[in-house]
């Protein structure tokens, strides 16, 4: 019988498998937050907006790529139970892909629509 373990591994697995979705959340929050600051207060000048958005999008996509590559190439979810590690890998990679789509959509919005103004 394996001795009881602390939940550290559980937390690591959890965070890693949700990394794609967390990246989406981070990108979304950053884009929306920066845009809010650009429009509501003069804290961030409007001409920096596209630079920030491009940088953030690039950064998050790079992160996703890194995680994707890591999980793909090395067996990160090393586990005696093959089913579990296969499941984790599949879920993580698919979530990364779906999140990538979400990030791209946000970026498209940011580049297509002027940063402030209600356009009405």
């Amino acid at each position: 019988m394996t001795p009881p373990r602390s939940p550290v591994k559980f937390l690591l697995y959890g965070a890693l498998s949700l990394s794609g979705i967390l990246a989406w959340a981070g990108h979304f929050g950053l884009a929306y937050g920066v845009q809010h600051l650009v429009c509501q207060s003069a804290l961030i000048p409007a001409n920096l907006w596209h630079v920030i958005l491009a940088a953030a999008t690039g950064l998050f996509i790079a992160c996703i790529g890194l995680v994707f590559w890591n999980i793909r190439s090395r067996n990160v979810f090393r586990d005696p139970d093959g089913d579990v590690s296969q499941f984790y890998t599949y879920v993580t990679l698919t979530l990364l892909a779906v999140s990538l789509f979400g990030i791209l959509l946000t970026a498209i919005a940011g580049f297509m629509i002027p940063v402030c103004g209600s356009l009405r």
């Binding site: 373990r5 591994k9 845009q35 089913d83 599949y90 879920v91 979400g102 002027p114 209600s118």
Partner: protein, 847 residues
């Protein structure tokens, strides 16, 4: 599993009297003691029954509204009553029916699906149910006394401020929400710990039934979404009662803050309702097809993605508020993204049907599932339409949205719920419901639904706004509305047929003696009050299909824990990922204490609402007292040695630290508190961006820098004190007065730290009524103070336990939970100090 494996778990035949012991220990209390019951099947049915009652009641309100709208210029009900009706219909359906019904299913089915004896905290769910039943009933009764709220279920200020709603009506809404907040959070704790820790041995996460995944994400979403509405309702009630200007534009507040907070909860709420229902469908479809779900992994992805993306949608309820187009575009994009997970689930169900080797039988559950697919598909497609910003500008707040929303919610939740009920009745009741009546119910509801709501898409595009109690004939909406009304009564007829079916055939009792649909999951194992006789070892997603002998073997006690070795209620705790057995928990049984705690909690809020402060406080104190009585006996300590659960496993009955289920529950609670504080941070910064002037004007009232440092120092030392208390505990049998003293000091230091912070602002002459800045400063202190109050009570509880000899180095759970909460408080309060004292200082020079 081979025969050889099975024999290694528990030897058969089992000794005589074991089953009698189990029956006696798990017996449901009879007669007037029935309310003390805690078994998840009893509580779950009660929960579901209450939710169904509210469904019927809110449905009756809808019929009254439909009657009023049937013809133009009708005067069946007046304006005032109509406004109350739609507010109550929405609020009751969303808060008293949909969320509780889903929680009820979780309470009812999860332990059975996991072959656990019960939920990890049985009294907690019972408490939540009783608070919900008492509070919900009183809330609903207000409609009969012209006291019902009339601000719409979304309760937008300023309309809901005392200036425009001077009576108690709006407060009753806040009250109704209060109960659902309590029961939802209690349920979330129960479900998260239940799914992670009470799975049967061998059921690693990849074998968890989809419903378990759905409930897990459901609970996770509650942890993040509900705190937003808790904060929103706090703000509204505080502004109503004490004039703190959170939403009043003249004093630096903003009505849109409410909308942000409410919809940050409100949109995920829709998915909170939908995900478990989709989980039900994912359970039923494989059974209908007799094939494993195609794309199990993808469905897990879909559920997780939905859970997250749904938090990026809230502004799509605010497309017409005039905020920048790009903000709308972001949320439009997220609304697109969230459509994909629904697509995954849809095609997964289609694929599973297609994979079937047999002719699909159109039984009642299948019909409801297919009805769900048709209706939800239309709802999803109109959802994509309203996610398009320009279209939304036209459709928003019209009957198009009424139609869309009902297609999503009735399709996504009500039909699966009925499917689920017909599907799982065999494990709840002595006999099946009638197939014939079931079909009648389905067809009436399905046809009625489409007749009622399909025309509404056009009614809305023809210009009919929502929430209007009358319209003139010249508008040309009459015929469509008449059709909708006829449809609504057809739905009602369907529900009536279902009620007749219930009355004729539904007899509660221990079912599960057979498996009429040939399902593959554990809830169809033979059941009795103690759940399954023994807890099976699981090695696939559909154990009953893999091993046709499993029901017999489980019932014969050949698997884990076929008896009650501690002599009381107990269940098996396993590891979160692989479900390896870790320890056995001793669980509390029936009791009045949690029932009284629920009743007094309900009374506390009710009396506060009608502004009877003194009796309310008395009830509040009695509620706390009941809670203390309730928990006093739970922490039994390691009074029994390692016990044999079969399979050569000897497990402890008491653990503390990160492995304990109580520790997990505490972490969940802390995440909830953290979300609440996060919502506060958002509100603070949001109001600052809206009205930096208020911050600028508040800057001179900021106390000197020394004071927050002193507060911080006190808070940190308080954490040190409680750490010291933990380490000065003695071995069992000895009382450590030093520890008791340390605990007292910890409470004192933390309380003084917060008091100092309050006094600093107050002493400078800052008053919360003066501006949104001031209100936010004091709100931050309130958020910490309410945790402090809990900690204070817990500290005295710990001291009492030390003095009673029930808290020592081993039996340390109560102190452990207290310290966890205190550490959390210190963290939150330090962050608060940094924000309140740092932010204006940084922004001052910039402005």
């Amino acid at each position: 599993m081979t025969d050889k494996d099975r024999q290694t778990i528990s030897p058969v035949p089992r000794p005589a009297g074991e089953e009698e012991d189990l029956l006696r220990i798990w017996a449901t209390p009879k007669g007037w003691r029935l309310p003390t019951a805690v078994n998840n099947t009893v509580i779950g049915l009660l929960y579901l029954g209450a939710a169904f009652l509210f469904f019927v009641l809110a449905g009756i309100l809808a019929l009254i509204m439909r009657t009023q709208l049937a013809v133009p210029g009708n005067d069946f009900v007046n304006q005032d009553l109509y406004n109350q009706l739609f507010t109550m219909h929405g609020t009751t359906m969303m808060f008293l029916f949909a969320v509780p019904a889903m929680e009820a299913l979780g309470v009812l089915l999860l332990p059975q699906m996991l072959a656990a004896r019960d939920l990890p905290f049985p009294r907690l769910s019972a408490f939540a149910v009783w608070a919900y039943i008492v509070g919900g009933s009183v809330f609903f009764l207000t409609i009969f006394f012209d006291l019902a709220p009339q601000g719409g279920w979304f309760m937008y200020p300023p309309l809901t401020l005392t200036e425009f709603q001077p009576g108690d009506n709006a407060d009753f809404w806040l009250l109704g929400i209060g109960f659902i907040e309590i029961s939802a959070i209690a349920g979330a704790i129960e479900i998260i710990v239940g799914v992670f820790r009470t799975r049967p041995p061998g059921m690693s996460l990849d074998k968890l039934p989809i419903f378990g995944w759905a409930m897990l994400i459901f609970a996770g979403m509650i942890m993040v979404a509900f705190p937003a509405v808790i904060l929103a309702t706090m703000l509204l009630e505080i502004e109503r009662a004490f004039d703190w200007p959170f939403f009043t534009a003249e004093l630096g507040g903003d009505p849109l803050l409410w909308q942000h907070l409410f919809w940050f909860f409100g949109h995920p709420e829709v998915y909170i309702i939908f995900l478990p229902a989709a989980g039900l469908v994912s359970m039923i479809v494989p059974t209908i097809a007799r094939k494993p779900l195609v794309g199990y992994n993808l469905i897990v992805v879909a559920i997780a993605a939905t859970g997250f993306f749904s938090f990026g949608l809230w502004v799509h309820h605010m497309f017409t508020t005039g905020i920048p187009a790009l903000s709308l575009a972001f949320f439009s994009a997220a609304s697109m993204a969230v459509a994909i997970p629904s697509g995954i689930q849809f095609f997964s169900w289609i694929a599973t049907f297609a994979a079937s080797n047999r002719k699909i039988q159109f039984t009642t559950p299948s019909l409801f599932v297919l009805g769900m697919l048709a209706i939800f598909l239309i709802g999803g497609l109109t959802g994509v339409m309203v996610a398009m910003v320009p279209f939304n500008w036209q459709a928003h707040d019209t009957y198009f949205i009424v139609a869309h929303m009902h297609y999503v919610l009735v399709g996504g939740m009500v039909f699966p719920l009925f499917a689920g009920f017909y599907y799982w009745v065999p494990i709840l009741a002595k006999r099946q419901l009638s197939e014939r009546l079931g079909r009648w119910a389905f067809w009436l509801m399905f046809i009625g639904f489409n007749v009622a709501f399909l025309p509404m898409h056009f009614t809305g595009l023809l210009g009919m706004p929502r929430r209007v109690w009358t319209y003139s004939e010249a508008m040309g909406w009459g015929p469509l509305n008449l059709v909708s009304t006829l449809g609504a009564f057809t739905i009602a007829a369907g529900v009536l047929v279902f009620i007749v079916d219930l009355a004729r055939n539904f007899r509660v009792g221990e079912g599960g003696k057979d498996n009429p649909f040939g399902a593959g999951t554990l809830e169809f194992l033979p059941q009795d009050v103690y759940s399954t006789r023994s807890i099976p070892h699981v090695s696939s997603r559909y154990p009953l299909w893999d091993d046709p002998d499993l029901p017999r073997a489980v019932a014969a006690g050949e698997h884990y824990l076929p008896n009650a070795p501690t002599g009381g209620r107990e269940t098996l705790i396993t590891s979160p990922i692989h479900a390896r057995p870790q320890y056995v928990i001793q669980m509390p049984g029936p009791s009045w204490s949690h029932v009284l705690a629920a009743v007094f909690t309900a009374a506390f809020f009710l009396l506060l609402t009608v502004k009877l402060v003194t009796p309310a406080l008395i009830c509040g104190a009695l509620a706390i007292l009941s809670c203390l009585v309730w928990v006093w006996g739970i922490d039994k300590g390691p009074d029994k040695g390692p016990i044999d659960i079969g399979g050569g496993l000897h497990l402890p009955v008491y653990v503390t630290g990160p492995m304990a289920h109580g520790w997990w529950a505490m972490i969940v609670l802390m995440i909830v508190a953290g979300s609440l504080f996060f919502a506060y941070l958002f509100s603070y910064l949001y109001l600052w961006t809206v009205s930096p002037d208020a911050w600028h004007a508040g800057r001179p009232y900021l106390p000197g820098a020394l004071r927050p440092f002193l507060s911080a120092l006190l808070l940190i030392s308080s954490a040190g004190m409680i750490w010291g208390a933990r380490h000065r505990l003695k071995i069992p049998g000895h009382r450590s007065l030093v520890s008791a003293g340390f605990i007292l000091l910890a409470a004192l230091f933390a309380g003084t730290g917060l008091g100092l912070e309050f006094q600093g602002h107050w002493g400078q002459g800052l008053r919360p009524q003066s501006s949104s800045y001031a209100a936010m400063v004091y709100l931050g202190i309130i958020l910490s103070a309410q945790i402090m109050l809990a900690i204070l009570i817990m500290c005295f509880y710990c001291i009492a336990r030390i003095l009673a000899g029930k808290l020592d180095r081993i039996r340390v759970a109560s102190l452990e939970n207290t310290s966890l909460l205190l550490y959390y408080l210190v963290g939150q309060a330090l962050l608060g100090l940094l924000l309140i004292h740092g932010f204006p200082r940084i922004m001052g020079p910039l402005a």
